[in-house]
Symmetry: C2
Subunit: 614 residues, 2 copies
């Protein structure tokens, strides 16, 4: 069994042994020294985190902190001067002897807290001028200052942790896809052609007058073409672009884990993604269980009022139509008489006090009725006297209200009623948590597949016309395939979204592989000009295999895993919400001569036009 | 030792087991069936490669080819019809029984050649219309046709092999960097600010009037800022952009393996790259040995006439100054009297016949003298009579000429003489190989570091001014650091190029980490406006560590590994040499309304301007 133990070590540990000191002039990082190193001479390189009284300093590198003892004897006066004169955040190389800290002085909160290094020689590799802020005060800086001095912000433990974790998760994903399941990592172009309705695509002028590339929002067309090309299993950690102007927590460039497979169905893709996330999930975040639960779009809307339900807590929407069928409130009767009319309620635990405090947060004008369950078992509400006892007690039973709970009731068109209650559910949950109620476990990860979306939605501006709920390449649900030609608005799709803790972290679909069906969708249903997609339509005629795929939003996923408050904290050099790089000041003016080769010129807005656009 | 053998298997084989059939409806790929599978019922999905006489067909997928036997009995007539009616390149799913091929009929050139699959059921998943060309004729198609129907071209074995090998090599590189040496994969922005002299950068208009992003040529600034941010070890498989207009074998977007480290010197980076390439080198290309040889820029120029010598063969440039010091040819004397004047020669084995056949290839007008060594030991040359016997025999000895060899001699300014002889060396090598002489082993990989480049070069248009030989962040050679302030033109740099078989596949340098030195280089030597780089100059003042890095050109490297004739054969969707996507027809016109949000308009060239630019 000694050999078995060795075997275990080889398999388990060998591939995880990381050589952080290869190729460089240090012998150890600042994070690795332990009692077992006592007596060794080591060379460390790092930044001076702080220095105290000329006695010791703390050296920091990307792996941790180590305490350096500054010698006090006369012979070391030069060394002492070097180390004491160097400003905070200067870069130094120190060679010294690892020693145990004097008894009682070890620091259990510091991984290297059992040892210190007695400096023998030191060299200041680069000095640091006065900082605009202290490195360790990660949370205290304003975001604009952090962005302007991003290179200093990156020295914080939290930013380095986020970026390292991101790198490791993506590496594990690659191992799973490439090494375990035979996926091929294929790079696709980012200088491409405008897609139909691609209003959010950045344009890139070319040297041909009047001709532009577009920066695509995803490699959608290319991944389908790769399947038609027989590549069978494709993935890419793909840079994508979306120009949405100013939108908080969105970036003009972002990254998705882009996947496509041939001969696969919805269950196959879901199984792949569950395995992928399980395999790449960071150990320190605890295991995740698979398969993930699944919910239809209709159920998500009915129970949570959204297509991305946060299933970490209850407070679900309850259908109370039957209770109020014969209620004498005109408001309720009017709702029930509407097409798609409905009455729905949610119960907010301990919501009574909340309601008093935040009454402004509850939009009574939007047709929301509120009820508070009094300690005496009665329901307090402005409309209480219009309801009979049976209706009140049935409502209490239906939403399982307890004393001091708040019940919110909405009546109207189904989608609208559910949406407003879904929003109130999330807003009140935040308010309850702010008051100390533990609704959502911050360490919990609730994955959920949302499926059976409609294939088309009525256009917002002209509800008689249809548009794709996701994109025009999504295949119809097999059970609804015939409806496509008769009642397209009723067709469900083979689209699936992956939701984590109420955030959409991915979405995909089985694609249309039949050229005729694709042409019907584009021409007859969507009334699109197929000219821009003629190459894809033609490709489908040359033996396109059945195929499907998915894309995971990497920035959002890493944000949720790390618990970062913004995706900007998991991106090395993010843009501000106005799309600016505050460090380099991009975008910036350029001289007209540099535009000449591209045959474009700036159309400066006139004051009048300015007003119009604002 | 049996346990040791198991251990070996576990470590070597276990991580390489790839599940190609997970998540999909097939049970096997078309490449994996062997004799051991005989008797199994299998389901295959693939394309009909061809079908013969209604008796059998060959099914192809991304893993290989399998022969399918079409049953001939009456009960199977429907199945037979399905399989025989499906056009070539249709997609089918076949379920059947694996059987041994009848004795004498196995095909040893086919990995699955010992078996065939007797079809039981089959379904045509998608039919294929008449193809514009046959899939297997990889080499015969015109490139324009291949590009227009790239999705069909991708079905060829060669293209799939190239893309798979590329994916595997990059994956191995990631394992080496991430898992073995603790590098962090950091994504850096591609929407950035224009860099000084960034004339080759595509511009991307923003929604702020007159302001543009640039697509950077490399993540150079970001990787240095990451080092200043303390990330210590960064890598990225980075998409880069360069707008060079039409240039053959260049792409407007390309990929580099981008690496940067802190506290490293030139030897450290070189050692890292040697380890990286050795680790990721495909087994089927044989092992490569390290360390790679190294050569100074001066020696490369003197011996090979180029900074990227092809060291797979000899024919080196030989200095023959001493031989002709006292020659009576005015042409030679004039050369020797020039500043940097020199006389150099190369010897082309069996070049005599070549010279007769390709006389036009040898530019006598550029001051090249030619000599042929006759079987009688005499030198034939138009200038023979101006040289004495000693000079002729010394020349023969110096270049080690043998009978029927051709000696080419050039005189003039050192750099020019070496360059022209370097070009003739490569051109004559091609000619000799076309005639069947085995000069270069096609399976050999000769790596070479070229080092000690000059830091600055005289500007071509105004040789009194200096420009960076590579880029302004390159550190001076430590031995020449003081010269920077007195004779900058003489300073060597800490830049290094990696050359493989005469192609530059990478380059990098130790960077300047001292803010004052960087400012001196930019302002005093290069006379650059430092405004565009103020963020980087400021960052260097806040404790920048010593750092350096390298970038490998992935497209070129994979091209050399696969032996592809163009980088377009190792890129899934390349652009034509005019920067066009011939499949989708990008770049393309877009309507003026779509330019409005970006405050630009097309400046249509007038006929007159057209003439000027052409």
């Amino acid at each position: 069994h000694r050999i078995l133990h060795q075997l275990h070590q080889l398999v388990q540990i060998a591939p995880r042994r990381v050589h952080f000191n290869s190729f460089v002039s240090r012998t150890k990082t600042c994070g690795e020294l332990r009692s077992c190193h006592v007596g060794q001479e080591v060379t460390l390189c790092g930044w001076i985190q702080y220095q105290r009284h000329g006695l010791f300093l703390v050296l920091r590198d990307f792996q941790g902190l180590t305490q350096i003892i500054i010698p006090q004897d006369e012979a070391s006066s030069h060394l002492k001067k070097v180390l004491c004169d160097a400003p905070v955040e200067s870069v130094v190389r120190v060679t010294g002897l690892v020693t145990s800290r004097p008894s009682g002085q070890s620091n259990p909160r510091m991984p290297t807290g059992d040892i210190e290094v007695k400096a023998k020689t030191a060299e200041v590799l680069n000095s640091c001028k006065k900082l605009p802020f202290e490195i360790k005060d990660f949370v205290k800086k304003t975001e604009a200052l952090r962005m302007q001095y991003r290179y200093l912000d990156l020295r914080s433990f939290q930013m380095q942790y986020n970026l390292k974790l991101r790198s490791q998760v993506v590496m594990r994903m690659r191992e799973y896809l490439c090494n375990l399941h035979g996926f091929v990592d294929v790079e696709t172009p980012t200088l491409f052609k405008r897609t139909p309705g691609g209003a959010k695509e950045f344009v890139v002028p070319s040297r041909e007058p009047g001709k532009f590339y577009s920066l695509p929002q995803s490699p959608q067309q290319f991944k389908q073409l790769l399947m038609i090309g027989g590549l069978d299993r494709y993935f890419q950690v793909a840079r994508c672009y979306r120009d949405e102007g100013s939108k908080s927590d969105r970036q003009p460039e972002f990254t998705q884990i882009d996947i496509e497979m041939s001969f696969v169905d919805q269950a196959g893709i879901q199984c792949l993604i569950e395995g992928l996330l399980q395999y790449s999930w960071p150990e320190e975040r605890g295991p995740i269980t698979t398969p993930f639960p699944s919910m239809s779009y209709a159920e998500a809307l009915a129970s949570y009022g959204t297509d991305k339900p946060d299933t970490r807590f209850g407070m679900k929407i309850v259908d109370v139509n039957d209770i109020f069928k014969s209620a004498e409130l005109g408001f309720l009767q009017n709702a029930l008489n509407m097409p798609q009319g409905t009455i729905q309620a949610i119960c907010i635990p301990q919501g009574a006090e909340l309601f008093m405090l935040h009454i402004c947060a509850f939009p009574s004008q939007q047709g929301i009725l509120h009820f508070i369950l009094r300690p005496d078992g009665t329901l307090k509400s402005p409309v209480s006297r219009f309801l009979n006892e049976k209706q009140k007690s049935d409502l209490i039973k239906a939403v399982k209200a307890e004393v001091d709970d708040l019940v919110l009731l909405a009546a109207g068109e189904h989608m609208e009623v559910c949406s407003i209650l879904g929003k109130l559910r999330l807003e009140t949950a935040d308010l309850l948590e702010a008051r100390g109620l533990a609704l959502r476990d911050p360490a919990a990860f609730h994955f959920l597949w949302v499926v059976d979306f409609p294939l088309f939605l009525p256009k917002e501006k002209n509800p008689v016309e249809l548009e794709s709920a996701h994109h025009p390449f999504t295949a119809p649900h097999p059970s609804d395939a015939d409806l496509l030609y008769t009642e397209p608005a009723k067709v469900r799709s083979q689209h699936y979204d992956l939701v984590l803790n109420g955030s959409e972290i991915g979405g995909g679909s089985i694609r249309i592989h039949n050229a005729k069906q694709q042409r019907f969708v584009l021409e007859a249903v969507l009334k699109e000009d197929t000219e821009l997609l003629s190459h894809l339509l033609e490709a489908l005629e040359y033996g396109a295999p059945p195929h499907g795929g998915i894309a995971l939003g990497l920035d959002r996923l890493i944000c949720l895993i790390t618990g970062a408050s913004s995706i900007r904290d998991v991106i090395a050099f993010p843009k501000s919400f106005k799309g600016r790089d505050l460090m380099s000041n991009a975008p910036d003016y350029i001289v007209p001569e540099e535009l000449e080769p591209y045959h474009i010129q700036v159309a400066w807005p006139t004051a009048q036009a300015e007003v119009k656009t604002n």
